[in-house]
């Protein structure tokens, strides 16, 4: 098990290390100014400088991202159920949803902050707006593509519409829901950062905009690295949730008579 983990992640880590080395060599070779591109050593020093204040910012951004993602899940699953259950609703609402995704969030975020104030809520809302679309699309698809024969089987036993939904359709859509959620999770932190950019009293977005006005590109790089790390963490969290919700997808082997 540990051996598998090592062979799985070592290549990626080695590649990352090589990139950092190349970056360092390039900065030295071309004698780049730190306000244009700081070297990895300088970024590390910047990290040591700010490590006292960073956790607070991370906590704010994570809270917004998780809250927004939670809202997106509830909203997304609910809308997906409506879209899948009622064809007329699907015909009216689905195109609007697609169009709504073409409104740039960078335009919407300031408006939402103006409407809802400077607290955590408007940021969570921006995150939710970014995250709910992949969940809706993917979950709707999962509900619509449930095996017709399974539905017929349930009906043949005398199941009501609600029973068919509960025993067949919802479980069928769980893998699709998580596929959408995994995409959303990668956007969630980014969404929170964009929202904070517009106006916040704490958070990684605020940290970046402050660093930029102070020409501390090294600190911007620190923030970027932190955002990447936090996003990976969130992604892993969703993956764990998926495992917990779909144990049958991860059960291996012990097929007694034949291998499939």
């Amino acid at each position: 098990m540990t051996m598998r983990l090592v062979t799985r992640y070592v290549p990626a880590v080695l590649f990352l290390a090589a990139l950092i080395v190349a970056w360092d060599i390039a900065v030295r070779a071309f004698d780049l100014q730190p306000y244009l591109l700081p070297g990895p050593g300088r970024v590390w020093h910047a990290f040591l400088e700010v490590r006292g204040t960073l956790p607070g910012h991370i906590r704010t951004t994570m809270t917004e991202a998780l809250l927004g993602l939670g809202i997106a899940c509830v909203l997304g699953a609910g809308i997906a159920a409506l879209l899948a259950g009622f064809a007329p609703v699907r015909r009216v609402v689905y195109p609007l949803l697609v169009v709504s995704q073409n409104v740039p969030m960078i335009v919407m975020a300031p408006l939402i902050v103006v409407w809802f104030g400077f607290g955590i809520m408007p940021k969570a809302l921006v995150v939710a707006l970014i995250c709910f679309f992949p969940i809706v699309v993917s979950t709707t698809d999962g509900l619509l593509r449930a095996d017709r024969e399974l539905v017929d089987l349930a009906r043949s036993f005398g199941a009501s519409r609600l029973q068919v939904l509960r025993t067949i359709l919802v479980p069928s859509a769980v893998p699709s829901f998580f596929a959408g959620l995994q995409i959303s999770a990668t956007y969630a932190v980014l969404g929170a950062v964009i929202a904070e950019w517009v106006g916040a009293s704490s958070g990684l977005g605020l940290f970046i905009s402050r660093s930029q006005t102070a020409f501390r590109v090294d600190r911007v790089f620190v923030a970027v690295a932190v955002i990447a790390a936090v996003s990976i963490l969130l992604f892993a969290l969703v993956h764990l949730a998926a495992r917990a919700a779909m144990p049958w997808q991860y059960a291996h082997g012990q097929n007694p008579e034949e291998s499939r």
């Binding site: 024969e149 399974l150 089987l153 009906r155 043949s156 025993t167 067949i168 769980v174 049958w248 008579e257």
Partner: protein
Amino acid sequence: MPEPVLNPAIRVDGVSLTFGGATPVHALDDVSLRVEPGQFVSLVGPSGCGKSTLLKLLAGLVLPDAGSASIEGIPVAGRPGSAAFMPQRDLLLPWRRTIANAALGAELAGVSREQARSEARSLLPSFGLEGFERAWPAQLSGGMRQRLALLRTFLVPRDVMLLDEPFGALDAITRREMQQWLQAVWTEHQRSVLLVTHDVDEALVLSDVVFVMSPRPGRIVHRVDVPFARPRSVADTTTAEFASLKSELLDALEAAGRPVRRVEVSERTTRPA
């Protein structure tokens, strides 16, 4: 044979059915048959002759254009839930473990969850699934999946069972084992069964009565009463009487239209109409 005052377990009267669409398919043409309570009846016919459609109709999933069908005297049109239906594919829910899959039909038919699952648990040994209570369907072999699907059908509290090629996907040896085993289970529980198959041997080993269906549009073209004493074994399939009944059935199938392959071939590559 029970007294005729009882309602027949299954009664089909002059049922015709055409599926609409760009190229309409005439699936059933004036089909009539009866299954008496406690009887084991088979319906043989070539692939795509409408056998599966007839079962779906009896399961209340499709409506006839003409004629009527009833189970235990109650019309089935648009009223699913009167019989225990087992479709061709095992259709186990991947997200339910063995016990929960076995209990699915009973639960949906109104049995309480606890009761359905405890009945399922107590029948696991006789369905050869002991020790696999906690397995997911993907961890079971083809034969076990099929037995689990049968157990699910058995646990539905209905006296009539509709079985659609329950062993079609299995290899010849496993299939034979399953037939022996189904015969034993049926003898013990005495339900009325309508079995659809394209395997003449299977029909003769298991049934009291065999109906032959023609290629599409499906019609009943022949009826054979099977006289052999039960329990029937593999040895019975080599007797002269068995051979003569078998050739009678094959002749009827051939006369009905398309030539029938006499070798055992799995014809389940396409889904039923």
